[in-house]
Each structure stands twice: as structure tokens, then as C-alpha cells.
């Protein structure tokens, strides 16, 4: 077993490369002028600038949270550059996209052209802070679906932005979301009109590619009455020596009878395998509101990257009979640290939530599940089922579980299950004796452990997730 761990530790980050594209970059530092500059570059309406400044002033009064079970050196927010954009802009088709960029996607195995032709997935490619390619737009327009870069939505649909921006994650919500609200440069916006089932799965690939440039993405998805959308987010990042801060905010709004499925596969650079140096800090605020009755929001995440993960995709179940789900697989290896989980806030009657969390720790990885379930006073007959399972590979890693349960209505039904297991030598030996190599055995056991979550992913993502787990445990042969 110690051999397995060593091999896992030795594994290089497969997607570590840098694309050489010229960037427009603001000098490092943060003040109101920087925010005004960002807003001016983006040609934003007045309400956006005001909102940014309000967020910034709020942020100045806040302190970085320290309650998470993660350790990292102090971040110098004045050393970060808050705007970076590829020089070439306003592209109409893939032909105009920088060949280097297309090559980057090819290296990642996600060529836009192939996706466009074969898989029927519309891709809003976010490369650093400005979106440079959008596909399948006309097909979506036919159904009245809006899927565009956030900055474009600010120009073309300001009334929707003004109505929904900050309606789920207020500008004052937390330290990182306040910072995001002040300086975010782009992201994605989705609006599904009444009664429309979005004809394709929507997908965005994020990629961090400029040194010392914090990434502050903003995603807003609104599903109007009776609509449905499945949104996929996946990301990889090139190898870097310096820590890169990523503080994204994702807001989901589901109206009456609407359903939003949000899936993430995250594989950012986790840091040097031997020292832990240089990985991404992923401090993300993700939250959805089931605003009216029978709404449903489902989060599925597969987290294998980042040096530090601080992430709690949550649901506010306001509408009666609304449903919140959280399915998560998180892998921490080498020096990775993750403090992740969810929060389910039951406000409406007959609201229901399900939490399935699978944590895998290997190497010196430290992982914490932090989950909150709140049943508020008026949430008659609310139900929650939580299951959090941890798997340990090796003897130097750790798994920690902090479930918080707050019930204020006696008709609530709560179930909580938790387990901790390890990949035993006896299991490996048993597989070996049947002719299955140690590497395949580890992947078999890990995939078996994660199965309940993987089956919630859209098909192509499930395959990618399984591949990612295999890559993360590659070289595991003793």
C-alpha cells in the first residue's frame, strides 16, 4: 500500500501547460479606481458600477473567514491583478479564435469544433476573464433561451441582471463573494423562459491562464416557471508557481415548477505534488433558491483539483414542495486541503433535501465535510436525508465531518448516515488474486465508492469524471 501512495504522489499534473497569448492586464492592486476602470472597460450601466462599489466598501469592512479547516499563507490582495483579457475580441465564429487557444482546448481533449459537430453541447468558452467563443447560440435563441457571457447580458438584458444579480448571494454575503461582486469581470448568464425545456446541455469551460490574475467569475442562471436546464461546468488549469486565487460566485434561481441541474467537474492545478506549492485557491460561493413551489435545484460536483477548496453549494428551499439535492465527490491527494459540503435551508412546507457526499483522501490530503441542514419554523413536514462517506488511502491523510443540524419545526424528518472506510490491503489482494492489477483495483474500488454520485452526472461528464479519478490515482501499481 505504501507503494501505491508513493506512486500517486509522484504523479504529475497532466494538464500543466501554459498558452502563450498576449493579455491586456491591469497592474496589481485594488481600489475604487480599479473597480471604475473594470466597469468602464466593460462599458457597464451605472447600476453595475454602484453595485460593485457598494460591494467593495462592504468588503473593506469584512474579515477573511478562518473557521474552515484549511491552512494557507496570507493572501496579499494588493498583489493581485484584477483584470486580464485576451487582446482579440468580438469573435463571430470559431475561425476567428486564436489558434493557440483552440490548441489549448485540443490538449485538454475538449476541442470546440468537435463538440459543436458531435456532442450537441453549446460551449461558452471562458478563457481568463473574457469569453471568446459562443456556439449554438442561434439554436438556443429559437427557444428563447439566453446563454451568453455575463458582460454581454449586462449590455443586452440589463433588466434581468438588475432583477436577479445578488438576489441569491447578496453583495454582503461573505468575504469572498463581496470581493467577487466588486471585481468580477465575466462569467455566464443563462435565462430559460417559461415552459421551455432547454434543448441541450449548457457547458462552460473555465481556465485560469494568466500569472497573478485572480479569477472572479460570476454565473447567474434563471429558470422561469416550468422550465428545465442542465448546466455543466468543468475546468483545468496550467501549472503555475504562484498561488492563484479563484473566488467565483454562482447564483441559481428556480421559479415555480422549474428545475436546474448544475454539474461541476473541477480539476485545477493542485500544487506541486512534493511540496504542495503553487496550487489554486478555490474559494467559491454557490447557492440556489427554489423561489416558488415545486422548484428543484440539484448540485453535482466532482472535485479533484485545487490546493485549497472552500466550497458549499447550497439550496434555499423557499417554495412549498421544493427539492434541493447535493451530490459530491471530492478527492484530496498529496498536500491538497478541502473544506466542502452544502447547506440546505428549508423554509417552505414539504420541502425535501438530499445530501450524498463522498470524500476520498490520499497522500497527505486533508478533507472536511461541512454540512448544514436548517429546518425553519414554517417548514412543515420538511425532510432531509444526509449521507457522508469518507475513504482513506494511506496513513498520512485525514477525513473530518462536521454536520450541523438545526430543526425548528417538530414535524421534520431527518436522517443522517456517515461512514469511514479505507482501501484495505485485503481488498487489493483479493482483486489481485483474480488477475486485476492494483491500479485497476484502486480505480474499481474508488469508482464503486463514488457510484451514487457519478450516476447523477450527465453521461459525457460521468465518463470524464471516471477518467479524472483514474488519472488522479494513476501510477497506483505497487
Amino acid at each position: 500500500m505504501s507503494d501505491i501512495i508513493e506512486k500517486v504522489i509522484e504523479q504529475d499534473y497532466k494538464y500543466g501547460f501554459v498558452t502563450d497569448i498576449e493579455q491586456d492586464t491591469l497592474p496589481p492592486g485594488l481600489n475604487e479606481d480599479v473597480i471604475r476602470t473594470i466597469s468602464r472597460i466593460k462599458n457597464e450601466p451605472e447600476f453595475m458600477l454602484e453595485w460593485r462599489l457598494k460591494s467593495y466598501r462592504q468588503w473593506l469592512t469584512m474579515e477573511e473567514p478562518t473557521w474552515a479547516k484549511v491552512r494557507y499563507p496570507e493572501i496579499d490582495y494588493q498583489a493581485i491583478s484584477y483584470y486580464s483579457a485576451p487582446k482579440k475580441k468580438e469573435l463571430n465564429s470559431l475561425d476567428e479564435v486564436d489558434p493557440d487557444l483552440l490548441d489549448t482546448y485540443n490538449k485538454l481533449g475538449i476541442p470546440l469544433e468537435e463538440q459543436k459537430m458531435l456532442s450537441g453541447v453549446a460551449v461558452d468558452a471562458v478563457f481568463d476573464s473574457v469569453s471568446v467563443a459562443t456556439t449554438f447560440k442561434s439554436e438556443l435563441e429559437k427557444h428563447g433561451v439566453i446563454f451568453c457571457p455575463f458582460s454581454e447580458a449586462v449590455q443586452n438584458h440589463p433588466e434581468l441582471i438588475q432583477k436577479y444579480l445578488g438576489s441569491v448571494v447578496p453583495h454582503s454575503d461573505n468575504y469572498f463573494s463581496a470581493l467577487n461582486s466588486a471585481v468580477f469581470t465575466d462569467g455566464s448568464f443563462v435565462y430559460i423562459p417559461k415552459g421551455v425545456r432547454c434543448p441541450m446541455e449548457l457547458s462552460t469551460y473555465f481556465r485560469i491562464n494568466a500569472a497573478k490574475t485572480g479569477q472572479f467569475e460570476r454565473t447567474l442562471i434563471v429558470a422561469d416557471e416550468g422550465s428545465y436546464v442542465s448546466y455543466l461546468e468543468g475546468c483545468t488549469a496550467p501549472m503555475r508557481d504562484e498561488n492563484q486565487l479563484h473566488a467565483a460566485v454562482v447564483e441559481l434561481v428556480a421559479h415555480k415548477d422549474a428545475s436546474i441541474k448544475y454539474s461541476t467537474v473541477q480539476n485545477w492545478y493542485p500544487g506541486d505534488p512534493k511540496t504542495g506549492k503553487g496550487g489554486i485557491y478555490n474559494f467559491v460561493t454557490k447557492r440556489g433558491t427554489c423561489l416558488e413551489e415545486n422548484a428543484k435545484i440539484s448540485w453535482t460536483q466532482v472535485e479533484t483539483g485545487s490546493a485549497i477548496t472552500w466550497k458549499y453549494p447550497s439550496c434555499i428551499l423557499k417554495g412549498d414542495n421544493s427539492v434541493g439535492e447535493f451530490y459530491s465527490v471530492a478527492l484530496t491527494n498529496n498536500f491538497q486541503q478541502a473544506d466542502t459540503g452544502t447547506k440546505m435551508i428549508h423554509l417552505g412546507k414539504n420541502t425535501k433535501s438530499t445530501i450524498i457526499s463522498k470524500g476520498i483522501s490520499a497522500g497527505k490530503g486533508q478533507q472536511t465535510y461541512r454540512g448544514g441542514v436548517q429546518i425553519m419554523k414554517n417548514a412543515e413536514k420538511a425532510r432531509n436525508y444526509s449521507q457522508c462517506d469518507s475513504m482513506l488511502i494511506g496513513e498520512q491523510c485525514g477525513a473530518h465531518t462536521f454536520p450541523y443540524i438545526d430543526v425548528r419545526n417538530s414535524s421534520a424528518q431527518m436522517e443522517h448516515e456517515a461512514s469511514t472506510s479505507s482501501i484495505g490491503e485485503d481488498q487489493i489482494y483479493y482483486c489481485n488474486q483474480r488477475g486485476i492489477s492494483t491500479e485497476d483495483a484502486v480505480s474499481l474500488i474508488v469508482n464503486g465508492f463514488c457510484k451514487e454520485v457519478f450516476k447523477e452526472l450527465p453521461m459525457e461528464f460521468a465518463v470524464e469524471a471516471q477518467k479524472l479519478m483514474e488519472v488522479s490515482l494513476e501510477g497506483a501499481v505497487g
Partner: protein, 247 residues
């Protein structure tokens, strides 16, 4: 087929096996009988390649030494062990596990791997031989199986993987008489002139249904007597202690 030469095995400097010599030819079923702690299971694991033993002597399979080979190399060479305590693997589908094992073998032999449909057709035939319900195929490997179900699952694997040499490590322990017959039937289906079997057991009752060619009695890490089925009967009647005085 399998030749064991002057095998001495220790764990943490404690001697378990003290000079085992044994030759099993293709087509033969050998039984090793002995009390708890006599070293029978250690012998099985040493052949299968479990880690953690200090070994002297040699174990040859079809003329090649096994001792430098990993457990999976031995498995792919044709050695199978039915575990005394089959291991539970939560979350891993029984069918998927067996398919992975069979395809690993086919791949190693340069044969084409079976797809899910073909494998399912095969496994549905095999599971009838051990009289298990098909629902076991969709459960996690040995998870929540009773003792008898686990042992039948081992024999199902034996019949599916069709190794050339099978070690049955106390496959009869914990079985009722019906299950015992099913297991013995399964083993008899497996048995042919090209395959060798080493059955390890405390009791004669499994052997009644399997009819071994040769029976060995093992005491304190040594084979003290070798004979035919009548030896098994004698051991059952008189207990192992009689051997201590007759040798």
C-alpha cells in the same frame, strides 16, 4: 503441474511451514486435511502470492517458479484461490468485478475482451451452476452475503474464470449440507483432465462429494501422511492425534 519443493515459511520469525514437498499433476484433486493452525491456509496464500511471508524452498507452476511473481501475475498464469474469508468490496458490482477479472485474463492471453452483453449472457449461464439467484449479480461483491453465499460466489468466480489450477481454502466451512452439495457440484463441473485442484479442509464431508485422488494429513507445518480417501475417513474417525503416534 504444481510442484512444491522443501517449502519453509515463517511469519515474523515464527515458523509455520517446515519443509513441504508436494506434486500435483493435471487432472488430480489433492486434499490437505489438518487442524486449525497446522499451516494449511498459509500454504494456500504462499501459492497465491500474499505478501508478508519469509519463504525458503520453491513453488513451481508448469516448470516456472512462482515466488518472484505478483499475485496478479500468478492469477493470470492460471492460479485461482477460493478464499476462506471472501473479501467484501462495497460499491463494486459483482458482475462488473467478475467481468474486470475475466477481461484481465483474456487480455493477458491475447484474446479479445468480452463486452457487457456477452459477459452477461455468460454469467447468467454460470450462476445456474451454483444455484444462486441472478439478483446477486447486481449486488456489491460479497456485501451482505451470508457465509454460504460468499462461498458460492467464490465457486461462481472459479467457474467463470476457468483457471488451470484451483486452491479451495476451507470452502466447506460454515456450509449446511445443501450448500455443501452445491459447492461440490460446482467443483466437479470445473474438474477435468487438464486442471489441478488443491482442496484444504478440516472435514471429510466435502471430500465425500468430491472424491479426491490423494489425501494428505498436515500437522504442525508438515505433511505427515499421504494416502487415498481412506485416510480422510480414518482422520475423521480417530482424529488427528492418532497420526502423532503412528509416525
Amino acid at each position: 503441474m504444481l510442484v512444491i519443493k522443501n517449502l519453509h515459511v515463517s511469519i515474523n520469525n515464527k515458523k509455520i511451514l517446515k519443509g513441504i514437498n508436494l506434486t500435483i499433476n493435471a487432472g488430480e484433486l489433492h486434499a490437505i486435511m489438518g487442524r486449525n493452525g497446522s499451516g494449511k491456509s498459509t500454504l494456500a496464500h504462499v501459492i497465491a502470492g500474499k505478501d508478508g511471508y519469509e519463504i525458503e524452498g520453491d513453488v513451481l507452476f508448469n516448470g516456472e517458479s512462482l515466488l518472484d511473481k505478483s499475485p496478479e501475475e500468478r492469477a493470470l498464469a492460471g492460479i485461482f484461490m477460493s478464499f476462506q474469508y471472501p473479501v467484501v468490496i462495497p460499491g463494486v458490482n459483482n458482475t462488473y468485478f467478475l467481468k474486470a477479472a475475466l477481461n484481465a485474463k483474456l487480455k493477458a492471453n491475447g484474446q479479445s475482451e468480452l463486452d457487457a452483453m456477452d459477459f452477461l449472457a455468460l454469467i447468467k449461464e454460470k450462476i445456474k451452476l451454483v444455484e444462486m439467484d441472478e439478483s446477486y449479480l447486481n449486488r456489491a461483491v460479497n456485501d451482505g452475503f451470508s457465509g454460504g453465499e460468499k462461498k458460492r460466489n467464490e465457486i461462481l468466480q472459479l467457474l467463470t474464470l476457468e483457471p488451470t489450477f484451483a486452491i479451495l481454502d476451507e470452502t466447506d466451512s460454515g456450509l449446511d449440507i445443501d450448500a455443501l452439495k452445491i459447492i461440490a457440484n460446482g467443483v466437479n463441473q470445473y474438474r477435468n483432465s487438464e486442471r489441478g485442484i488443491l482442496a484444504i479442509t478440516h472435514y471429510q464431508r466435502l471430500l465425500d462429494h468430491m472424491k479426491p485422488d490423494i489425501v494428505h494429513a498436515m500437522i504442525d507445518g508438515k505433511i505427515v501422511k499421504t494416502g487415498d480417501m481412506s485416510l480422510a475417513k480414518e482422520l475423521e474417525e480417530k482424529g488427528y492425534s492418532f497420526l502423532l503416534y503412528t509416525n
